[in-house]
Every structure is written in structure tokens, then in C-alpha cells.
């Protein structure tokens, strides 16, 4: 029976879970459909790992329910055949070649012997790793290793693919290659649940994002729409100043409405009149004797939204 493309492959309803007395999921809802790339965002300890474990059937939520392809992944092992997981670590055997690894995981995913070869070829094709088929995984570059990590999760043609930090520790080119693989898989109808701290990647890839904070989903929607709703016409002005700032200099930057960015190298603010504000800031900073290396104006990103939500949560 062909699954209905409109029916959700994953439905999490009011999931609640606690370890000991510590509640880590507080009524989380999550729905993902075929062909969708859903980025689940949130700080460490937000409950992402527990939610993934519940979706993978590794634990049964103490409240609410998880439905994967219409079944319960915890009590019905057969529905887990619809699921592919690429963990954050390289979940591969380093001494084995790419092909050997994929053959092993194809067998472990329940494919029959006759299906293994074609499945391995298809997975290598979609992840563009066929040219390294006979290279031991430990000798591959970081980007190839990440793609093989994904290939091992799609051998059995899962309807839901969970990618946990799929580009952690790889360079820009490798990240773009991995992004391309994820898009191709979504185009083939695979629902992708992406867990990442890379908000730039999430903004560029995801059709929808969800913010998890302290076990609750605090925001969900299409990235562009969420940003527009949160920031309207405001633009972000980024200011790079000299490295040797005194506490007095920092106080003057704060007086001008600037906040230190999370990476610590730049100061920024969100303003209605982006370019006009940038010119005024440039003048004010020079007048204050601060050496300005760069001023940029750009559209707000998921990073800004993430910071906004974090600040709101802290304030609350």
C-alpha cells in the first residue's frame, strides 16, 4: 500500500517525559510530512536528545504519544523500518571501507542478501560517495565521512531520516556537499528531521524550524516567515571594532544600543533604518575615538531569532 503523501510520517502529541524528578519534555508537539526538512533547534539541555530517543522508540514518553508511520515505534519494532538515523558521531566502522560499512548496515537494517548490493549502490549514488567505495572510512576526509554517515542511514529507504548535527566539524565546502545530499533526499520524498546548532544551515535548508527550550516548543514555522514576524522591517547592523576594548569603550558601545554578538568578535543591533543607522553609528563611533574596522547591514537571521527567544526566556 502506497503511503498517503499528505499524511504525516511523524506525529508527536503532547509528549511528556522526566528522568527522576527532572522533567525534560513538557508537552511537545511535532508533525513532519514527506519531503519536508524540519530543523529542530534549541540550546543544550532543551530536550532534543530525549525527543529523538522517543521518536526512535528507545524510550516511551510518560505522557502523550509518538506515532511513526501510524504506529508506536517503542512497542512496534516494524514501524522503525521507516526510520533512518545518522547520529552526531561517525557511527561507522573505521577499519572497513565505505562499501563494506554500507553492506553491514544494509544487512543490519533488515534487507535481504539480494537487496544489499543495489541498496548500497543507490545510497552511494545519492550521497556522492561511490568514488570512495573501496577506501577505509578512517582514511576519508571529514566531508566524505559525514556523507557516508548519512548513506548508512538511507540504505533501507526510510520515510523519516533523522540527522543529528550532520555537519559538525566540517569545512564550508563539505557542508555545502552535505546540504546538497539532504536536499536531494527531501526531493525524493524523504522527511528529514535535522537537529543542529548551525542556525545558518537550518535557515538555508529547512522548510520549517522549531525551537525547543526547557522541554517546550516555543516557536515553529517557516524560517523566513518567523523572521519577518519577529523583526518586521528591521535590519541587523554588525560592527567590528578593535580588539583592545576597555570597560569604558564597552559601556559606550552599549550606550549606542549595540550588543556583543555570541561569538564575541562583533557588536550588533536591530534597527528600522538599517543603512541610515549604520552611517550614524559610524559617525558616533569615530567621534568617540573608537576604531571601526567594518560595519555591515544584513537581514536578520535565525541566529537573531534564537537570541531573541533566549533573551525572552531568560527575562521570563
Amino acid at each position: 500500500m502506497t503511503p498517503d503523501p499528505e499524511s504525516p510520517i511523524l506525529q508527536v502529541q503532547q509528549a511528556v517525559h522526566a528522568y527522576g524528578g527532572n522533567t525534560v519534555l513538557r508537552g511537545v508537539d511535532l508533525t513532519i510530512r514527506a519531503g519536508e526538512i524540519y530543523a529542530l533547534l534549541g540550546p543544550n539541555g532543551a530536550g532534543k536528545t530525549t525527543l529523538i530517543r522517543a521518536i526512535c522508540g528507545r524510550l516511551k514518553p510518560s505522557g502523550g504519544q509518538v506515532r511513526l508511520a501510524g504506529g508506536d515505534p517503542h512497542s512496534e519494532p516494524r514501524v522503525r523500518a521507516c526510520l533512518g538515523l545518522a547520529p552526531q558521531e561517525l557511527a561507522l566502522y573505521p577499519h572497513l571501507t565505505v562499501r563494506e560499512n554500507l553492506e553491514v548496515f544494509a544487512s543490519l537494517s533488515g534487507l535481504r542478501a539480494a537487496e544489499v548490493g543495489p541498496a548500497v549502490d543507490a545510497a552511494m549514488a545519492v550521497t556522492r560517495t561511490a568514488d570512495r567505495a573501496h577506501v577505509p572510512v578512517r582514511h576519508l576526509s571529514g566531508g566524505y565521512q559525514r556523507r557516508v554517515n548519512i548513506a548508512a542511514a538511507v540504505l533501507h529507504h526510510p520515510r523519516l531520516l533523522i540527522l543529528d548535527e550532520p555537519t559538525v566539524g566540517v569545512d564550508m565546502n563539505a557542508r555545502e556537499a552535505v546540504d546538497g545530499v539532504i536536499r536531494d533526499l527531501a526531493d525524493q520524498g524523504v522527511a528529514v528531521l535535522l537537529i543542529t546548532h548551525d542556525l545558518e544551515q537550518a535557515g538555508g535548508l529547512a522548510t520549517r524550524v522549531g525551537f525547543l527550550s526547557e522541554g517546550q516548543k516555543v516557536l515553529e514555522g517557516e524560517p523566513a516567515q518567523l523572521i519577518a514576524e519577529a523583526f518586521g522591517e528591521r535590519m541587523e547592523v554588525l560592527v567590528q571594532v578593535g580588539a583592545d576594548l576597555t570597560p569604558y569603550d564597552e559601556a559606550r558601545l552599549a550606550d549606542l544600543g549595540l550588543h556583543r554578538s555570541r561569538s564575541g568578535g562583533a557588536w550588533s543591533c536591530l534597527v528600522e533604518d538599517g543603512y541610515g543607522a549604520a552611517a550614524r553609528l559610524d559617525k558616533a563611533l569615530k567621534g568617540a575615538g573608537l576604531s571601526v574596522r567594518e560595519i555591515r547591514v544584513r537581514q536578520p537571521s535565525l541566529q537573531n531569532l534564537f537570541s531573541l527567544i533566549s533573551e525572552d526566556r531568560r527575562a521570563a
Binding site: L85, A86, A91
Partner: protein, 401 residues
């Protein structure tokens, strides 16, 4: 699925040449070393190094010196200078296992021979005494005869002229026989030795150490292989597999089969070496040997997986592995023969698989035991392995990183 995991383990081992050598070449080598060392501790191959000095300088004492130096069962070396002090010094400094000083003519009355031994080698003195008596009985029967007659003289009274002449004749005959290498009357004794089971030289010890090294390395390699359970948990492989339909069950089973087969190959290599080098009668008992080996393999594979599966980290598992390998081997008799242990330690040893494996192999290849005796060891080993495997299956199902 099970075969896929078996293949992973086999390929990982094949590509790690160090581990490959450790798994299959080291066990026969260690067995050869152990058997060479310990086959002598039972007295079969002991050749004591004796420092000898002749301070009597008589014809008879020279004969004894020459006979002792010629005896293939001793390593008698004349010291220089030929003094009691030099012999004492060599024994004290462990240059010699024991010392022997001929201080008077061996045929004379009293105690013409002094044996010097280090008290820490208590067995050396009686061994030297026994060997010297054997040498004298073989090479100097005339002297022994004369001493015997002299010893019993007070009970018999003075010899007549004819008896004295007969004694002289008998002494001459004994000396001639000894010179021609004929067996002498003095060599016969009230004891008759009957080696049990038509034993080959050192056979019991060889079988003991073949079994001891087999179980030692089976457990060592199994613990090393079982550590991959922790690696898979840490690398996310376990998460990937458990997210699938089958879970970790086939993975654990595949590992168990590989570890068991690895132990069988190790045992085959060790016992083939024992058979070739020492003539251990493997082929006539091959059926029972196979069952014993299978039981030992099941035990080592299951026990290793069960123990490693309850550890949370690699460090914990390695510490436990070291403890299990060393302590169980020491108590179970893989390092020192169990018959040398005090009785209470021998009793404690039965809680280790080592004792059961060694005893079962000795039962098969040395004591010619049958199924009706061996079944107990097979059951203990098989059940231990099955419980370990069951623990691993249950624990890995709920394992968290």
C-alpha cells in the same frame, strides 16, 4: 544480520595485524614457554646444577667425582679451588642449586659426603642425595657392597676367611659389571615404578598447560573483542542499529559467534602444537576434545560479553577486563599449577572457568575420562557462557551512551 556482525569482527581483526598475532600466534608460543618451564616442576625434567668438590683425594672419591660428572641426570661441576668454602659460596650465591663435598673416602666408615643446600630450595637436598645414591649404585656397586657388609657386621659377628674371600670376589664382580655398563644388584630396590596411563614424559603437565593457556587466551581475546560493544555505544553505531527494526540482538549474537570461533581456533593451534611437539594424544580423543573446546569457547565468549555489557565506559571495561584476566587466571591455575596451591585456594579455584577448562582437558587427554565424568564441566562452562550472553542481550537493549 548476525553474519554481518560476524563479518565486521573478522575484518576488523584481519586488518589489525597486531591483534591478529596476539590472537593466533601468541597463544601457541606462550604455551611452549609455559610447558618448557613448568614441565620440570613435577620432577620429570629436573637437572640440578651441583657444585662438587673432592677434598678426600682417594681413588674411590675420584671414581665418584667422575661418575657424577658423567651422569646425564645431573649437572655436576667441579669447583675451583676444591674446597668446602667454595662450594658453600656457590650455593649461597645461587651459582649452584646445591653442593656436594666428598670429605673422606666414600668406602670409609661414617658420613664421607656432605650435601649443602639453600633452605629456600628445600627439595634440592633430598634430590641430590637420591641422585648420588643412584650414581653410586650404578657406577660404584662394590663400594656400596663393602659399606653394607661393614654396616651389618656388628649383627653378624666377624667374617670367616671364606666369607671374606667371597666378599672380595663379589666386590670385584660388581666393579667389573659396573665397568662394562651392566645393571648391578645394587640398583634394584624394594620399589617398582609404574607410570600411570602409560604416560609420555611430561604429558600431564603439557595437557595441563595446553588447557591453561587456551582458557587464558580465550578469555583475553574475548574480553578484547567484547570491548567493541562499548566502542559501538560511544560512536553512535549502537544508536543507529537500535533505531532500526532488529535492535542489538543480532549484533550481540554475531559477536558471540565470532568470539567463540576465535577461541576454537586458538585452542586448535595450542593443542596442535602440543600434539606435534610433545605427542599429546589429540586425535584419539578428538570427539571429546571438540565438545570441551566448544564449551570453553561458549564460556569465554558469553562471559566476556556479559561482563563488558554492564560497564558504562571503556575505562571501566578495561579495568574489569584486567581484573578478570589476571585474577581468575591466577586463582584458576592458568599461571601456577593448581596442585601447588594450598587446599583452600584450590577449592576457591572452582569458581573460575579456568579450573573447569583445565580439568576437563586433563580428563579428556590424560585421565581418559568419558562423558559420564566430563558432563559436569561442560554444563558449568556452557551455562556460564549462556548466562553471560543473556546478560549482554538484555543489557545492550537498554544501553545508553
Amino acid at each position: 544480520m548476525t553474519l554481518a556482525m560476524f563479518r565486521v569482527m573478522a575484518l576488523e581483526l584481519w586488518r589489525d595485524r597486531g591483534a591478529l598475532v596476539m590472537a593466533f600466534f601468541l597463544p601457541p608460543l606462550v604455551f611452549l614457554i609455559f610447558s618448557a618451564v613448568f614441565s620440570g616442576t613435577t620432577g620429570e625434567n629436573i637437572k640440578l646444577r651441583i657444585a662438587v668438590a673432592d677434598v678426600a683425594h682417594t681413588e674411590t672419591s675420584r671414581r665418584l667425582m667422575a661418575a657424577m660428572q658423567a651422569d646425564p641426570n645431573l649437572r655436576a661441576e667441579a669447583v675451583t679451588p676444591q674446597t668446602l668454602e667454595e662450594v658453600r659460596r656457590q650455593v649461597k650465591s645461587s651459582e649452584a642449586d646445591a653442593g656436594l663435598v666428598i670429605r673422606a673416602d666414600p668406602g670409609a666408615e661414617g658420613s664421607p659426603i656432605v650435601i649443602l643446600a639453600d633452605p629456600s630450595r628445600a627439595v634440592a637436598a633430598p634430590l641430590v642425595q637420591a641422585r648420588t645414591q643412584q650414581v653410586m649404585a650404578k657406577a660404584m656397586p662394590d663400594i656400596l657392597l663393602g659399606r653394607t657388609v661393614r654396616d651389618i657386621g656388628p649383627a653378624l659377628g666377624d667374617l670367616t676367611a671364606d666369607q671374606t674371600a667371597n666378599l672380595k670376589e663379589a666386590e670385584k664382580e660388581a666393579r667389573d659389571d659396573a665397568a662394562q655398563g651392566k645393571p648391578t644388584d645394587a640398583e634394584s630396590s624394594m620399589f617398582v615404578r609404574d607410570d600411570v596411563v602409560g604416560a609420555k614424559k611430561g604429558g600431564g603437565t603439557i595437557v595441563y598447560y595446553a588447557g591453561a593457556v587456551t582458557v587464558l587466551f580465550a578469555l583475553f581475546s574475548a574480553m578484547h573483542g567484547a570491548l567493541t560493544l562499548i566502542d559501538e555505544r560511544r560512536s553512535g553505531i549502537a544508536d543507529r542499529i537500535m533505531a532500526g527494526r532488529a535492535g542489538m540482538g543480532p549484533v550481540v549474537t554475531g559477536k558471540f559467534l565470532f568470539l567463540a570461533l576465535q577461541a576454537v581456533v586458538q585452542a586448535s593451534a595450542i593443542f596442535a602444537t602440543a600434539s606435534i611437539v610433545y605427542g599429546t594424544p589429540l586425535l584419539p580423543h578428538i570427539g571429546l576434545w571438540c565438545v570441551t573446546t566448544a564449551a570453553a569457547a561458549i564460556c569465554s565468549g558469553g562471559l566476556a560479553l556479559g561482563l563488558v555489557s554492564v560497564c558504562r565506559t571503556r575505562d571501566q571495561a578495561q579495568m574489569l577486563s584486567t581484573f578478570v584476566i589476571l585474577v581468575l587466571a591466577a586463582i584458576g591455575g592458568s599461571m601456577v599449577p593448581r596442585f601447588l596451591m594450598p587446599p583452600w585456594l584450590q577449592a576457591v579455584g572452582w569458581v573460575t572457568p579456568h579450573a573447569w577448562v583445565i580439568d576437563a582437558y586433563q580428563g579428556v587427554l590424560w585421565r581418559d575420562e568419558g562423558i559420564n565424568t566430563l558432563y559436569k564441566a561442560w554444563l558449568v562452562l556452557g551455562l556460564t557462557g549462556a548466562i553471560g550472553l543473556m546478560v549482554a542481550q538484555i543489557t545492550t537493549r537498554y544501553a545508553r551512551r
